[in-house]
């Protein structure tokens, strides 16, 4: 059995919205192992993004047990959760969230600067990861000079540059046309093949089908797998 990266048991997430109690997650149990590729599908508002945020140490559950990379998430301070995101996790969002004033290379370099790598190491690592996503020739361009697909590849490069064990992707093709989305899907698949674990939230069944384990959520819960499903 491969290394267990994330273990969630009976997770719940409740919050108040305009006086109403919202149960975003109910009794969610999930394990993510090294090298896995999990896709999560479901209708809007079913809790899949909330689950992703909790697995990514951005949000905290209201109840349940969560272990992130061998550590009890409930005991982590904000600084420790931040460090976890920096060193163990990579995030890719539907919107690319690149810093418009920086070049593609500088955007990718940000996590390395925070991690304290020397300049030469940073430059080597950025070049390596930009080459991996096929944008070695566009490193000096700013986000505004790149297409949507290229911006998403820069965002993926930024998520990968600290060599995370787990990549969390929230609708990474949601703002891209079909052909460009296909390129991103292939990139994710290549990443998985190279050993990075991925948890992917998507509405796109074709993209979800590329995962080694496909989950569906409804009303804050993970549905039991259908017979014959992977």
């Amino acid at each position: 059995m491969s290394e267990r990266l994330v273990s969630a048991r009976d997770l719940a997430k409740d919050y108040q919205l305009d006086g109403f109690a919202i149960h975003a997650l109910r009794s969610v149990t999930l394990e993510v192992h090294a090298g896995e590729f999990i896709s999560i599908m479901g209708a809007s508002g079913c809790g899949k993004s909330t689950l992703l945020h909790i697995l990514g140490a951005v949000d905290v559950p209201s109840a349940g047990e969560l272990t992130l990379f061998g550590r009890n998430a409930a005991e982590l301070t904000d600084a420790e959760r931040t460090a976890l995101r920096l060193h163990h996790l990579g995030f890719v969002f539907q919107r690319f969230f690149l810093l418009p004033m920086l070049t593609a290379a500088e955007n990718v370099m940000l996590p390395l600067m925070e991690a304290g790598l020397a300049r030469r190491q940073r430059e080597e690592r950025v070049h390596e990861v930009m080459e991996y996503v096929g944008l070695a020739q566009r490193m000096r361009h700013k986000p505004g000079q790149l297409s949507g697909g290229e911006q998403q590849r820069v965002a993926i490069a930024r998520a990968l540059v600290n060599r995370p064990q787990l990549l969390l992707a929230d609708e990474p093709t949601g703002e891209l046309d079909e052909a460009t989305g296909e390129q991103i899907a292939e990139l994710l698949q290549r990443l998985h093949a190279d050993g990075t674990a991925i948890v992917l939230v998507t509405h796109n069944p074709e993209l979800a089908a590329r995962a080694t384990r496909q989950l569906r959520m409804r009303d804050g819960q993970i549905e039991p797998p259908m017979e014959g499903a992977p």
Partner: protein, 289 residues
């Protein structure tokens, strides 16, 4: 060679001799040759006002009725040192030799005040003290002592300027906070992304403070530039308006250091007040989940 008749206040002579101000009075054409007349020195403003030049003849009296006026030849015209007390006053100065002034004022052997210029100005205080210690009925003052005694108006004005400065700084701080609020709100999503990808609160806060410092520094540079433009307009305009060499506005290195030295801490304070709210918020809220 012209002979002119005037009525004007000769305050310079009055100051020199400490006497009642004489008058430069109207007079009839004289038969005396200019070379035989005593000379008087006029300020350039006086000369311009009276329309005389060096070599011209003027008649000066010690009373408004212009009785017993004396005739003088204009021996020189000079530009007096600028004096803030005289700004806006239309005083016309004339300087006479002491015997001529005494004769004009019809008083003999009487001097209330005179100025002595020392070869070593640094010894002024000591010399004044030594004269005063003699107790011969003479009081000696240094120029600095007189300046201090007469500058109370300027002390008040200076305090007034400081008060305006404090109010301006407070207004500037509010303005800086407003700019930083707008700037940070504009960057809210960027800061949220930074937090999501694992950039620490400290780094994010430092980045915002750096931006605040740069905004303040830029504001200082722009402010100093505007001040220089204002000085370039105010000084010539005021000097022309009051016919003086006085410098009305002056930007010293000390003022520049003070402006930058206050602006940057104020900018940092404004940045910190705004940024601490952002960095302690949930990054998901900041990116607009």
């Amino acid at each position: 060679m012209r002979t002119r008749r005037f009525v004007a206040l000769a305050a310079g002579a009055c100051l020199l001799a400490g006497l009642v101000p004489p008058k430069i009075a109207p007079a009839a054409q004289s038969s005396a040759t200019p070379a035989a007349l005593p000379d008087a020195v006029l300020t350039d403003r006086t000369a311009a006002r009276l329309g005389v030049a060096v070599g011209d003849t003027v008649e000066i009296a010690a009373n408004a009725a212009l009785r017993d006026a004396g005739r003088f030849i204009v021996g020189g015209i000079y530009r007096p040192h600028a004096d803030p007390f005289e700004v806006g006053h239309e005083q016309l100065h004339v300087t006479l030799h002491l015997p001529d002034l005494e004769r004009l004022m019809q008083v003999d052997d009487r001097v209330d005040r005179f100025t002595a210029k020392l070869s070593d100005p640094a010894a002024a205080r000591r010399v004044a003290d030594e004269i005063n210690a003699l107790r011969i009925g003479v009081a000696a003052y240094t120029s600095q002592q007189l300046a201090d005694a007469n500058s109370s108006t300027f002390v008040v004005i200076s305090q007034f300027h400081k008060a305006i400065g404090v109010v301006s700084m407070l207004a500037g701080l509010v303005f800086l906070i407003a700019i930083m609020v707008l700037k940070v709100e504009e960057m809210r999503r960027v800061l949220g992304v930074l937090r999501l990808i694992g950039i620490s609160r400290r780094t994010v806060l430092r980045s915002v403070l750096l931006i605040a410092a740069l905004v303040s520094l830029l504001g200082s540079v722009v402010g100093i530039g505007l001040a220089h433009i204002a000085v370039a307009i105010i000084n010539p305009a005021s000097q022309a308006r009051y016919d003086t060499d006085l410098i009305f506005a002056h930007i010293t290195p000390g003022i520049v250091v003070l402006a930058v030295g206050l602006a940057i801490p104020m900018g940092l304070l404004a940045g910190w007040l705004v940024a601490r709210r952002i960095v302690h918020g949930n990054p998901l809220d900041q990116i607009g989940r």
